[in-house]
Symmetry: C2
DNA sequence: AACAGAGTTGTTAGTGACTAACATATTGGC
DNA sequence: GCCAATATGTTAGTCACTAACAACTCTGTT
């Protein structure tokens, strides 16, 4: 039970190293497998695909819960935005090194960016479901969720690309554009952001 | 010069037929090529990839122009939304049969959905560039564009999935959620939509 | 009609992602 | 130490996609 976790971690870390050293395309699955001391079959038993080793995240239900916690009087778009803000404010900025490293590899490759979005689709649906608990129609909920995720992805990609700045401020900037009349500050990444346009 | 266009069309239509008859995954490039009377090399000379034959659209600068036409006093998000609305109101509902057919194939396959989004990235950047002409910062512009495209994609996918209803109403519904205080009706798909929530 | 050169297509042989089937280790509980 | 589950390897294959080069087919010119 625990060996499998170890193997998985070994493969993933070997993959990350190789991607950074030699580039994503130049790194074959075979090479990763050898570096990790396994066969390519083992690789595919742990990861659905080559890009999966870089981008597949374990599903996290936190965002859905965070959206549901937002007051129901808010318009769906605002609920979704504030939910996202609240969820991201709970992750410590230090734990994000790995996420950032992986995203910075992905942004340079269109296929990987696309794959990133595919992953976020799941999150989008979770958000939409959370919105529907207050009686919002399906399409409306999906639209609100889709807009938020579109904006969020831009913020995340910008953060991964640029060498400087925190993620909290970017998300705050993004979300505040979708609910411009509201005061959004003070809720995210404790201590970082105060005032925004 | 014109033979190549004919060949291209032949391949694409053969591909569409086969995708519909036997499914996307079950249809090999080899099979498409044979059906079109060419070799697989010719296929790849006309289309970058198997999914390209389904999803690669010729670049259309109309949306960028439509966004730039929107009054500069509007907040970026509203400019983008109205630009999108205006651009889509110019395409006749009858010309959309093919788009819909292709999208309805794509929605069933995660990889193809992702590829669709990849295509839309180009549009997103065009919109962002258009927004920047009034002095909006890069990140702000990208966020606004990203949010709109996120919402738009949901509308398009819903339209392609559902058997009924027009595309105009859906886009209007989507965009009006991003600029809820404004009157958005009467601008899109002449004659279809009047009042919306 | 014959020709030249540009544009288009085919052949072949290869790489790399990914899968199925089956054989073999390895592990953890008894 | 033994047994059943779990983890891994081998092999052989399919399919998307590419490089290199050969062959073909138009078009206009003489």
């Amino acid at each position: 039970m625990s060996k499998s976790r170890r193997t998985r971690a070994t493969i993933q870390s070997a993959a990350l190293d190789l991607f950074l050293e030699e580039g994503y395309n130049a790194t074959t699955v075979e090479r990763i497998s050898v570096a990790a001391g396994v066969s390519h079959m083992t690789f595919f038993r742990y990861f659905r695909s080559k890009d999966g080793v870089l981008l597949d995240d374990p599903y996290d239900p936190a965002i859905g819960a965070a959206v549901e916690e937002q007051p129901g009087e808010m318009v769906p778009l605002e609920r979704a935005c504030r939910g996202i803000l609240s969820a991201w404010s709970d992750v410590a900025e230090e734990d994000l090194g790995d996420v950032r490293k992986r995203m910075s590899i992905a942004v340079g490759h269109p296929q990987l960016r696309a794959r990133m979005w595919e992953n976020n689709l799941a999150t989008q649906h979770v958000i939409a479901e959370a919105l529907r608990t207050t009686g919002v129609a399906r399409l409306e909920a999906e639209v609100a969720a889709g807009a938020c995720m579109g904006a969020l992805l831009v913020a995340l990609i910008d953060w991964a690309t640029a060498g400087e700045g925190g993620i909290g401020e970017r998300i705050q900037l993004a979300m505040s554009q979708l609910i411009p009349d509201s005061d959004v500050s003070g809720r995210v990444t404790r201590g970082i952001a105060q005032e925004l346009p």
